[in-house]
Amino acid sequence: MQAQTLYEKLWSSHVVHVEEDGTALIYIDRHLVHEVTSPQAFEGLKLAGRKPWRVNSIVATADHNTPTDHWERGIEDPVSRQQVETLDANIREVGALAYFPFKDQRQGIVHVIGPENGATLPGMTVVCGDSHTSTHGAFACLAHGIGTSEVEHVMATQCLLQKKSKTMLIRVEGELGAGVTAKDVVLAIIGKIGTAGGTGYAMEFGGSAIRSLSMEGRMTICNMAIEAGARAGLVAVDEQTVEYLKDRPFSPSGEQWDKAVAYWKTLHSDEGARFDRVVDLNAAEIQPQVTWGTSPEMVAPVDGHVPDPSLETDPVKREGMERALQYMGLEPRTPIKDILVDKVFIGSCTNSRIEDLRAAAAVARGRRKADSVKAVLVVPGSGVVKRQAEAEGLDQIFLAAGFEWREPGCSMCLAMNADRLEPGERCASTSNRNFEGRQGAGGRTHLVSPAMAAAAAVTGRFADVRALG
């Protein structure tokens, strides 16, 4: 048989029907649902008198709007509360395999709870009305972010209409330096190929540096595949994948487990499989990264400088850079390490898992938040992560450093709840988007790894975490 890429294997095992022009119906195994992009889909279903095709494919949670402190007060913003209550009512009516509502012990960010509960398994197709669904590709799932009409389509038909993507392999070979993390790798990738570099592609991450990452690190990388334009990110199954999934609540067990594992081990690109595009990076050259602009591709190593737009020859790009620097309140050629921060956010579906919190705590241990920093929010990705961190004493390290230890949720990643930047405030953030206004109208976001965020919190500026020791 011809050598196949992982994407081709996943695609061909889910095709139900193909139209003449190649538009295919692909079967969906797992549908993750949250409060923001589902109400109109549930309503559409009801108006058309349709029922969900397979309720047991649905795993739901409330995450985007939920507050991260004073849970005893409930959700104070009435508009947010209505959205969360609408999800409660919809799930009560139609059902789900699992629902982790506001205040549930296992509630959390939708892309954190899927894997940690074993609701995301290799070989699945996974969809969610959220672009960061690419995260789940770390488990060799074909995972797509979809719009609300597609949420309704999947509920009604258990299928998604898709055209086959082109395939891209991003190969990162070699060893990452100390203090260089998955976040730095993915920011370096986006810096290299641009935010539209992956448009139309399914992006597989491979090479020895990717294989050496934990599942958490692989999720961080796949999470940001969408910031490189790719709707799906992928990493092949290996021993670590299998190890991670063992004994999770929805993972198979007993005889089923053995059968599943045997199948999962086939989920990798075959030797000699052809990709439409291959991009190579040398792990040893990657440094801790800091974004300076309003798009994730506007990124520099921590030792670098804010670039000078006058050196850019493409007029559309130059104008984009000028606009970004104006919005960010930065001068060309400023050393990254001279930029001062007002707030720090450690959280989001990119970097709120236990390993991320450990990395931040390792830097915070025995240090204090700089006086000039107004607030440092540490927001675990889920209730499960929160309790694990507390069992390890990480919360005490953060509190001793003057950081805030919050309840799980999306929080200041997109500032739909009360956690946000004020106009002009500058933030070191472990989230995935530095768009204008993303963390609050007029707020200025710099994307970094958890360790770099903690380093910014204790020094008050972007500091090279490798120099902190």
Partner: protein, 212 residues
Amino acid sequence: MKPFQKLDGLVAPMDRANVDTDAIIPKQFLKSIKRSGFGPNLFDEWRYKDVGQPGQDASGRPLNPDFVLNQPRYQGAQILLTRDNFGCGSSREHAPWALEDFGFRVLIGPSFADIFFNNCFKNGLLPIRLPGSEVDELFSQCHESAGYTLSVDLQAQTITRPDGKVIPFDVDPFRRECLLNGWDDIGLTLRHADKIRAFEERRRMDQPWLFA
């Protein structure tokens, strides 16, 4: 869905790359549980001088006179010219809902982000990809002449400029049919319900753990 066949419409230029869906419709408006009413908040942070809140009446808000869509010559525009990677970022379908509610029916640019591109077709909005040089010419013609219009014909897959030049464009045949007829894809997909059921049964046998 509203069908789309032909349109002679006024053109507005959005001359910046990587316009993300957070800019098209900021997050506070995502708290709505409806599909309509997003037009007044399209490009909210660029369009107004204050910060908009959901449910607020937008009519009295201070406008930013520099923002392109606030200029008198672009009032009533139905076609938006865009640069690379328009619609990147969040999958929020509120972005095409807001564009459509505002009055746009066609977007023309060199590239669109995947999820956004898909979402447009589900909402009677036609995104057209053209080579960068064609888009550059459209931008310069649009800047130069007030009241610049284009004629877009989906059946024929052509854009006709005021100077008579005809620009062909590609669109997937399946999507074109759906848009021309205003078809709802769910109904179309359910024609294959037997195939879906058969596929599902096979899968349940082969990988029962997926159906626990």
